[in-house]
C-alpha cells in the first residue's frame, strides 16, 4: 500500500519539503500524523527515521528506516533514505548499494542520481561516475554544472579527448559569451587548458592558452603555464623571455629561476657540482645581470653561493654572511647549512666565521683591516656571530664548543629567546633531555605569547618523558572554551603533539596510551578523507576545478604523509611487540624492568600503583558540574587505551597500518622491513621474501635488511630440515615444498648460494667500512648464525672505538652498541665501552648518569 488518500498525500509532499528546508522537528510531527492513520506506510516510516537521524537519535533512526523499507521494498524513496542514512554514517559502500536499488525503481530521479555520483567519486569508481554524469547531463543539459561534471569524469578516466569535447560543446551552447573577467568562466577555461596539458599535447595547449588570454583572470597562472609550455616545446628564446618576465613580477621565486636556467639549456635536475665550469660561469653571469636589476631580491643574494666553489665561493659567502650578521638574520645558519653538502664549503664558512669572531672581539670589525677609518660594527653583530658559530658546531656535534659559544651569547644578551632555543637544541643533541627542557622553559618564560616557543617547550617536555607537564604547557595555548586541552588538540587535529606524546608513552612502555595516540592519527587521516565529500558539489558549483583536481589527487596520496608514516611505523612496531610478548597484554607486567636495579623496580611499581589510585580518586570526585555539561564534555571511557592492548590479534591491527604504507610509501625501505617482520610472524614465507627483495632493491646495504636476510635463511633452512626429517603427515607437505622451491630459486639473487652466512656477513662488513650501524648489524647477525660466535660479535662491536668510526659515532648508535654488549655479550667490555662514551658524550644523561633527579620530578 503506497498510495495515500489525497489529504495525507499532500502532507507527505509537505514532509519532503520540510526535509529539504531542514525543518526536522516539523517534519517529524507531520510524519507521526500520517503514521497515526497509516502505521505501516513505508515511505513515511523511512522519512521519520531520517528526521530522527538529524536529531541525534541514531538507533531509532535505523530502526524506522529499516521498518519502512521492509513494508515498501519497491519504493525509491525508502532506498534513497536508507542510502542517506548510511552516507551520514560514512558507510559509503552500503550507501552505494542502496542508491543502486533506488535507481532501479526510479531510474531518472535527478536527486538520487546526483547523490549516487557523489558517492561514486568519493569511492573513486571512475567508470560508474562517468555513467551517472552522462545520465545527469542527458536529463538536464541547460545547466553548466552537469557539463563540467561530465568533463571531469572523462578527465579522471584519462579520456582527454571526450573531456575536451564536452567542454567545447558546452561553450558552444552559450548564447552569449560571458563578459571579460568572469571568474567562473576563466576557471573553466584554465581547467580546459589543464586537460589538454595532461593529454601531453603541449603545442595544442599553448595554442589554446593564447586563445583564452583575454578571458583569464588568474594572470599569474596563465603566465606560468605559458612559460612552461614554451620550455616544453623547446622554444628557448621565448621561454627565456617568459621566465624573465615572471622574475620581474616576483624576483624571489625559486621556480622562475630554475625555469630561466632550463631555458638557457642548463640541466637543473643534476647536482650543481656536476656542472661544467663553462656552464657555471654562464649561470653566474645571469645572476649578476639580474642582481643589478633586482637588488632587493634575497634569493639572488643566495643563489651565487650554490654555483660557486673555492675562492669565488669564499668571496660570495663572505659578503653574504657579513650582511646578514650586521642586519641580524636569525635564520642565517639554516640557509648556510644547505651548502654543507660540499664539505669544502663547510670548512670555508667555519674559518671565516671564526675570524669574524676574533676580529669583532679585538677591534669590532669583521675583517682584520689596517684602515683606522673603517666603520665598526654594532654589538649585535658580535652576538649574531656567536649565535651562528654555536649552531655551526652543534651541527658538527661538537657539543662542548657549541655550548661554550651559546653561553657566551646568552651572557652578552640574556633577553633573546632564540639563544635559549639553540642552547636547548644543543643540550638535546648532547643527550641531556632534562637540561634541554629546562632551558626551553626558560625561553618560554621570556615571551609568554609566543606560540612557537611554547610548542617547542612542550615538545622538549615530551622528549624528556614528562607528558603531564607537556599537556599543561600546550594547554596555555589551546582554546579557552574547549572542555580540556586534550580534547581541543584532538578537535584541531594537532598531529605533532599526538605523535610526540605517543612516542613518549611508547618509551615509557605505556603501550595502551601510545597506541591510542597513533590510532588517533589514523582517525585524523580518515576524517580528512571523509571531509572531501562536501567538495564534490561545492567545487562544481564554484567552478574551482583546478583546485578540485588537485584535492582529489592529494587525497589519493594522503597516507604517504610523513606524519602518517611515523604513526603507522610506531603502531606496527608496538603491535609486533605485543604479539611477541603476549603477557604484556594483561597490564600488570607491562613495565619493562630490564634496565633497572631492584630498588628502582620497586620504586617504579610503587609509583604506578600510587598513580592508579590517584586517577581513581580523581574520577570519583569531580561530579559533572553544570559548566562541564554546557561544554558538552565527551566522556572518554578508555583514557588509558586498554582496548588496544586487549585486541585479540595484534598482527591484524598491524596489517591495517601496514597496507597503506605498501601502497603509498613503497619507495621507503622501512615499509618493506616492517612488512618482513609482519609476514615472518604470520609464517607467510613467500611474502616475507618478497618484502626482503623489495627492500634489497631500495638499499642492499641496509643494516636491518642484512639481519633480516640472515634470519629468514636460518628459519627457512630449519623448516626444511624439520620437514625432511619428520615428514609429519598432518602437515601439508606440498605447500611447503612449493615454498622451499621458490625460496631456493629466488633467495640466491640476494644471498648467494655458495657463501656461508658467516662469510656473507664478513663481506657485508668489509663493504661498509667506518659505519657503526653496520657493525651492530654484523654482530647481531653472527649471534643469530651461531650463539657461539660471542667473542667475534664482541670484537666487532669494540671496533667502534677506532678512529675510522668517528664519523658515524652518534649517541643513538653508541647506546645500541653499549646495550648489546651489556645485555648479550660481555659486561666488562661494556664498561670499557661506556667509559669511552663518557668522553665522547660528556653531557649525556645516559652515559654520565647526570640528572638522576629526573625521576623525582616525574612522580608528583
Amino acid at each position: 500500500m503506497r498510495e495515500l488518500p489525497s489529504k495525507e498525500s499532500a502532507l507527505f509532499k509537505q514532509i519532503l519539503k520540510y526535509y529539504e528546508y531542514k525543518q526536522y522537528k516539523k517534519g517529524l510531527k507531520a510524519a507521526e500524523q500520517i503514521l497515526k492513520k497509516f502505521p505501516e506506510h513505508g515511505e513515511t516510516l523511512a522519512m521519520k527515521g531520517l528526521f530522527l537521524n538529524h536529531m541525534d537519535r541514531k538507533e531509532e533512526a535505523h530502526e524506522f528506516v529499516r521498518k519502512g523499507l521492509r513494508s515498501d521494498l519497491a519504493s525509491h524513496i525508502c532506498w534513497h533514505v536508507y542510502g542517506l542514512l548510511h552516507r551520514s554514517d560514512k558507510n559509503y559502500g552500503e550507501a552505494l548499494k542502496c542508491y543502486t536499488q533506488a535507481l532501479k525503481y526510479d531510474k531518472d530521479n535527478m536527486q538520487i542520481l546526483q547523490d549516487y555520483s557523489l558517492l561514486q567519486i568519493q569511492m573513486r569508481n571512475y567508470e560508474a561516475f562517468n555513467e551517472s554524469r552522462l545520465r545527469l547531463l542527458k536529463l538536464r543539459h541547460n545547466n553548466q554544472r552537469y557539463w563540467i561534471g561530465l568533463a571531469i569524469s572523462y578527465h579522471l578516466l584519462e579520456n582527454y579527448e571526450s573531456a575536451e569535447k564536452v567542454l567545447k560543446a558546452y561553450v558552444d551552447t552559450l548564447k552569449e559569451k560571458p563578459g571579460p573577467m568572469n571568474f567562473e568562466h576563466s576557471e573553466m577555461l584554465l581547467y580546459h587548458n589543464l586537460i589538454i596539458e595532461e593529454s601531453g599535447k603541449f603545442e595544442k595547449a599553448l595554442e589554446h592558452l593564447e586563445s583564452i588570454k583575454d578571458d583569464v583572470c588568474d594572470r599569474r597562472s596563465w603566465k606560468e603555464k605559458r612559460a612552461f609550455f614554451l620550455l616544453k616545446l623547446e622554444r628557448y628564446q621565448e621561454a627565456e623571455e617568459a621566465y624573465g618576465d615572471l622574475i620581474a613580477d616576483n624576483p624571489d621565486c625559486y621556480d622562475y629561476y630554475n625555469g630561466l636556467l632550463s631555458a638557457s639549456k642548463i640541466n637543473t635536475e643534476i647536482n650543481t657540482s656536476e656542472l661544467s665550469s663553462e656552464q657555471r660561469e654562464k649561470i653566474l653571469g645571469i645572476w649578476q645581470t639580474l642582481t643589478t636589476k633586482y637588488p632587493k631580491s634575497n634569493l639572488l643574494k643566495r643563489l651565487p653561493l650554490q654555483y660557486t666553489t673555492d675562492e669565488r665561493f669564499k668571496e660570495e659567502v663572505d659578503k653574504y654572511m657579513q650582511a646578514a650578521l650586521r642586519k641580524g638574520v636569525p635564520s642565517l645558519f639554516v640557509n648556510l647549512k644547505k651548502l654543507y653538502v660540499d664539505p669544502i664549503k663547510e670548512i670555508i664558512v667555519e674559518k671565516l666565521v671564526e675570524e669574524y669572531l676574533q676580529n669583532l672581539k679585538t677591534h669590532n670589525t669583521f675583517t682584520k683591516s689596517s684602515n683606522i677609518d673603517d666603520e665598526i660594527e654594532q654589538p649585535t653583530a658580535y652576538l649574531w656571530t656567536l649565535y651562528l658559530l654555536a649552531q655551526h658546531y652543534d651541527n658538527k656535534r661538537d657539543i662542548m664548543k657549541a655550548l661554550k659559544l651559546i653561553d657566551e651569547a646568552i651572557e652578552h644578551t640574556p633577553t633573546l629567546v632564540e639563544l635559549y632555543m639553540t642552547k636547548g637544541r644543543i643540550l638535546k643533541h648532547g643527550g641531556n633531555f632534562n637540561e634541554a627542557m629546562k632551558v626551553m622553559d626558560e625561553a618560554r618564560e621570556l615571551d609568554l605569547q609566543d606560540r612557537f616557543i611554547n610548542s617547542k617547550c612542550t615538545k622538549y617536555m615530551l622528549r624528556n618523558d614528562q607528558p603531564k607537564e607537556a599537556l599543561k604547557t600546550i594547554g596555555l595555548f589551546t582554546r579557552g572554551d574547549a572542555p580540556d586541552p586534550l580534547t581541543d588538540l584532538i578537535d584541531m587535529q594537532c598531529m605533532w603533539y599526538a605523535l610526540e606524546e605517543g612516542e613518549c608513552y611508547r618509551r615509557q612502555n605505556n603501550f595502551g596510551k601510545a597506541l591510542k595516540r597513533f590510532h588517533q592519527i589514523e582517525k585524523h587521516f580518515a576524517d580528512i578523507t571523509d571531509d572531501q565529500f562536501d567538495f564534490h558539489t561545492y567545487c562544481l558549483r564554484k567552478v574551482t576545478l583546478r583546485a578540485y583536481l588537485g584535492m582529489l589527487r592529494l587525497e589519493d596520496q594522503l597516507r604517504s604523509h610523513p606524519y602518517y608514516f611515523r604513526a603507522a611505523q610506531n603502531a606496527i612496531e608496538i603491535y609486533l611487540y605485543l604479539k611477541d610478548n603476549p603477557k604484556t597484554v594483561n597490564g600488570e607486567e607491562s613495565q619493562n624492568y630490564d634496565n633497572m636495579t631492584e630498588e628502582e623496580i620497586k620504586a617504579a611499581k610503587k609509583a604506578k600503583s600510587k598513580a592508579k589510585k590517584a586517577a581513581l580518586k580523581e574520577a570519583k570526585k569531580a561530579p559533572p558540574t553544570k559548566e562541564d555539561q554546557s561544554k558538552k564534555k565527551v566522556q572518554d571511557d578508555d583514557p588509558e587505551g586498554e582496548k588496544f592492548l586487549k585486541v585479540e590479534d595484534p598482527l591484524r591491527e598491524a596489517l591495517k597500518f601496514l597496507q597503506p604504507l605498501q601502497i603509498l610509501a613503497s619507495q621507503r625501505i622501512e615499509t618493506h622491513l616492517l612488512g618482513f617482520e609482519y609476514y615472518i610472524r604470520k609464517k607467510k614465507y613467500l611474502l616475507a621474501l618478497r618484502a626482503l627483495k623489495r627492500a634489497y632493491n631500495i638499499d642492499k646495504e641496509n643494516p636491518v635488511l642484512h639481519v633480516n636476510i640472515i634470519q629468514f635463511k636460518l628459519e627457512v633452512s630449519r623448516l626444511e630440515k624439520e620437514d625432511n626429517e619428520k615428514r609429519e603427515p598432518q602437515r601439508d607437505s606440498t605447500e611447503y615444498q612449493t615454498i622451499f622451491r621458490v625460496v631456493n630459486t629466488e633467495l640466491p639473487t640476494i644471498l648467494p648460494d655458495n657463501t656461508s652466512l658467516k662469510e656473507y656477513t664478513e663481506e657485508f662488513l668489509a663493504r661498509n667500512k667506518g659505519s657503526i650501524s653496520h657493525l651492530l648489524a654484523s654482530s647481531n647477525a653472527l649471534l643469530q648464525i651461531n650463539p657461539e660466535y660471542k667473542q667475534e660479535a664482541t670484537n666487532i662491536l669494540m671496533n667502534s672505538i677506532k678512529d675510522e668510526f668517528s664519523n658515524t659515532r652518534t649517541l643513538k648508535h653508541c647506546i645500541s652498541v653499549y646495550e648489546q654488549l651489556k645485555n648479550n655479550l660481555d659486561s666488562s667490555k661494556a664498561e670499557e665501552f661506556k667509559n669511552k662514551c663518557k668522553e665522547w658524550f660528556p653531557i649525556s644523561t645516559y652515559f654520565t648518569g647526570l640528572d638522576r633527579d629526573k625521576n623525582d620530578l616525574k612522580i608528583e
Binding site: D373, E375, I376, E377, Q378, P379, P414, T415, D447
Partner: protein, 178 residues
C-alpha cells in the same frame, strides 16, 4: 637603585656603522620574564613580585629599550604622592631602575630611556603634576653620577647604609625639579 649607565660620549670614538635602530617598547605580563632577566644581570638586588606587579601599572613610566630588535635595557619608575592623605595634586617620580646591558652602553640607549621619562613626566595633561624626579645611586658609581648630572640632577642627600649586601653601602639621592 641605579647602576651602570651612560658616560658622556667620547668625541674620539671612530665613526660607527650607521645601521642600527633604538626603540622603546611596552612592558606587559607576557614579556615580564625579559625584565626579570635584565634585572638579574644588571643589579645586585632581588626584586619582589610586588615590584613586577607595580611595573605593569605605571604605563609610560616603565619601558624596555630595544637595540636592533634585541631587548637590552629598561627603565622602571614609581609615582609617589606628596603629602599622602591630603588632596594635593602634586607628586614625585622615583626611578626604581634604569639600566642597559654592558655591551650596549654608550650608544645613547640610556639617554633615550631617561628623556622618555622626563618628557612624559612633564606633559601638560599629566595628573597629578610631577614636581620632582629622584633616584638613589651607589656612591661609588661614577659612571651613573656623571650621566645624571648631565641631565641636571643634583646630589641632595647621602643615605648611609642604604644598601644591605653591597659595598660601599651608601647611596646619594639625586634629584631634579620638574
Amino acid at each position: 637603585m641605579v647602576t651602570s649607565t651612560e658616560t658622556i660620549k667620547n668625541s674620539k670614538v671612530p665613526k660607527r656603522n650607521t645601521a642600527h635602530r633604538i626603540a622603546l617598547g611596552e612592558i606587559t605580563p607576557n614579556n615580564l620574564g625579559q625584565l626579570k632577566k635584565l634585572n638579574t644581570v644588571l643589579f645586585p638586588v632581588n626584586y619582589s613580585e610586588k615590584f613586577y606587579k607595580d611595573v605593569l601599572e605605571v604605563g609610560e613610566f616603565a619601558k624596555f629599550a630595544y637595540f636592533n630588535d634585541c631587548c637590552v635595557g629598561a627603565v622602571c619608575c614609581r609615582k609617589e604622592q606628596i603629602n599622602q592623605g591630603t588632596t594635593s595634586d602634586q607628586a614625585k617620580l622615583y626611578i626604581m631602575t634604569l639600566g642597559v646591558l654592558a655591551p650596549y652602553r654608550n650608544l645613547g640607549i640610556g639617554t633615550k630611556l631617561l628623556t622618555h621619562i622626563l618628557q612624559h613626566a612633564t606633559l601638560p595633561a599629566q595628573h597629578p603634576k610631577f614636581v620632582e624626579i629622584y633616584l638613589h645611586v651607589q656612591t661609588s658609581n661614577e659612571e651613573a653620577l656623571a650621566f645624571y648630572k648631565k641631565y641636571d640632577f643634583e646630589i641632595v642627600a647621602t643615605v648611609e647604609g642604604y644598601y644591605k649586601k653591597i659595598s660601599p653601602p651608601d647611596a646619594y639621592v639625586l634629584s631634579r625639579k620638574l
